[in-house]
Amino acid sequence: MTAAESATMSSVIEARGLTKVYRMGKNEVHALRGVDLFVERGEMVAIMGASGSGKSTLMNILGCLDRPTSGTYVLDGKRVDGLSKDELADIRNRKLGFVFQGFHLLPRTSALENVELPLLYDRSGRKLDTRALAAAALERVGLGQRMDHDPSELSGGQQQRVAIARALVTQPSVLLADEPTGNLDSRTSVEIMALFQELNDDGVTILLVTHEPDIAAYAKRIVELRDGRIIRDEPVHDRQDAAADLRAFQGAETAGVA
């Protein structure tokens, strides 16, 4: 069964024949050389690859931050590969949630206000109680007690939780996480992965870019790129349970203390 055949009505991402060519002076750099990717609702996919494999380019295109040179991209039933900059901005706002490696929180701005931010750019015209929605999103990532804290008063893991709450607050079709654990220690990384797994269990579709196999092992499916092509696309056989790993961490610590 090829990837193209696996596309069904429930696909939230349908990308066919994506290519991306950058021009650097006289040279052409082929970052993507024909990528087909289908992601169904409720999936948790890890995109892997060495640097230069094209995984960041793919992520940017899937995140509607960039447009493919050729190929089609249907996001949540809507064709988005030919949209204008402003239309892409609206798609990002309504259908996508971003989590970055560097958290990207506004400094000197409370967690609550940071989470409210995407709602301020909502152009659907509906009346939103931004404060209540942001508070609910923070509750969901376990930061209900720290809504008024500035990023500087939060640990790295907590900051990434705020960023996840910000990505969730618009109830996006896909949550895109670009190396979400890249700036975190291994224990906090597992914590964050546990949160992703929990959200995924609740039905959130997650697309995760990572170069660490340990992190990719928490996903349900791994897509690996090399030189702008997909070289591997398979389900994870022995999927790790982050919550269980976390308990193991705690056990080890208790043992260490004892």
């Binding site: 940017n60 960039d66 301020l120």
Partner: protein, 405 residues
């Protein structure tokens, strides 16, 4: 993005970066304050001069010797003095519109008496002089018609002279000597203050012009005749009357130019006001430069801020902000900062011009027009100097901006 949200986003950004905001606004604060203080000083000086000109006297006309032509070559004003006491007498007897006329004869002399000696100007005038200059005596009396006719050696001291010669205030009734001529002090004038040029009007001794001419200066021609009318409306007609009387008196042919110069108080006032207006504009122009410099300061900080906030802009774009949202946010930030800066500058200007008014004793009033201009201008500065940085911010590529370190 709704206007309210926009203001909120811009407001948050302004409030949460207090140091940056303060530095940005500083230029505008100083600029607006400077403009307001300068204009307040200028208009204060103008009002001061108006008051001083009013103090010269009311509805006053000044006749001075005019230019003479010798073989077609003008010798300039006051080169050939043909004003005489007879001219003054003729004006007094023939004019219907003039209510007072006084010749003025001037000389400078050393005065000895009382506590010591003092060099001052001696002005020989007629009794009418007191009315024309609206100058009361604070002590004693002014001389009378009889004193003038009899060339009596009586004088009235200006306040400064009285103070220097008789510090105890007992000048009236004393004898003083002007160039070895003994004279009697019969009165002391009330202080009149400075002239528009800064000269001391009270540093003077008034005496009957007959006395000064015969006993002190000996000149026949006189440098000035003062006159006045009872109402300001009469001034233009009175000027015509004076001209015709003097031309007849000087036997000028119809094609000959006047050999005297006639000025009224309004002309003097206008000349002085013109000068101060130019000064005010000059001060305002200099101060405006500081406003422009302030604007450039805003642009500078905004440009730095775009670079510094590249990641933030990238984030906003990733979260769904359109280029226009970012543009408007930066523009609103810049305008809000410059208008708030303008208001603070205005407050500073009010305090500073109040302080200057207190020190100088001028009325340094703040004009509503100036307030409006300062605020309007600072808003315009915000838009003008904020646009380029805002456009740069809006044009950023979200991917590059997010990666920016």
């Amino acid at each position: 993005m709704k206007a309210k949200t926009l203001l909120k986003v811009a407001g948050q950004s302004i409030v949460k970066n207090k140091m940056r905001t303060l530095l940005t606004m500083l230029g505008i604060i100083i600029g607006v304050a400077a403009v307001n203080v300068m204009v307040a000083i200028g208009s204060g000086a103008q009002r001061q001069i108006e008051r001083q000109i009013q103090a010269l006297g009311t509805n006053m006309l000044v006749i001075t010797p005019g230019s003479a032509m010798q073989g077609g070559v003008s010798q300039g004003a006051q080169t050939f003095n043909r004003l005489t006491i007879e001219d003054a007498e003729m004006l007094r007897s023939q004019s219907f519109l003039l209510s007072a006329v006084s010749p003025v004869v001037m000389t400078r002399a050393q005065v000895i008496g009382g506590a010591g000696n003092w060099r001052t100007s001696i002005m020989g005038v007629d009794v009418d002089y007191q009315q024309i200059r609206d100058w009361p005596v604070q002590d004693g009396v002014f001389f009378e018609e009889n004193d003038v006719r009899a060339m009596r050696k009586v004088v009235v001291l200006g306040a400064t002279v009285a103070e220097n010669l008789f510090p105890n205030g007992d000048a009236v009734g004393q004898q003083i000597r002007i160039r070895d001529v003994p004279v009697q002090v019969i009165g002391v004038l009330a202080p009149k203050g400075q002239t528009a040029n800064g000269g001391d009007q009270d540093d003077v001794i008034l005496a009957p012009y007959t006395t000064v001419q015969t006993r002190l200066s000996g000149r026949v021609f006189i440098p000035q005749i003062l006159a006045n009318t009872s109402s300001p409306e009469d001034i233009p007609a009175a000027q015509e009357e004076i001209r015709s009387i003097l031309r007849t008196s000087h036997r000028l042919a119809p094609n000959e130019p006047d050999d005297f110069t006639l000025r009224n108080q309004n002309e003097i006032a206008q000349a002085a006001q013109g000068t101060t207006q130019v000064m005010t504009m000059l001060l305002a122009a200099i101060a405006s430069i500081s406003l422009v410099v302030g604007g450039i300061g805003i642009m500078n900080i905004m440009l730095v801020s775009v670079t510094e906030r590249t990641r933030e802009i990238g984030l906003r774009l990733a979260l769904g902000a359109r280029g226009r949202d970012v543009l408007t946010q930066f523009l609103v930030e810049s305008v809000v900062m410059s208008v708030v800066g303008g208001l603070l500058g205005l407050a500073l200007g009010v305090v500073a011009s109040g302080a200057i008014a207190h020190v100088t004793g001028w009325s340094a009033a703040l004009s509503p027009a100036m307030v409006a201009i300062a605020l309007g201008f600072s808003g315009a500065v915000g838009v003008f100097f904020g646009y380029d940085p805002a456009r740069r911010a809006a044009a950023l590529d979200p991917i590059q901006a997010l990666r920016y370190e």
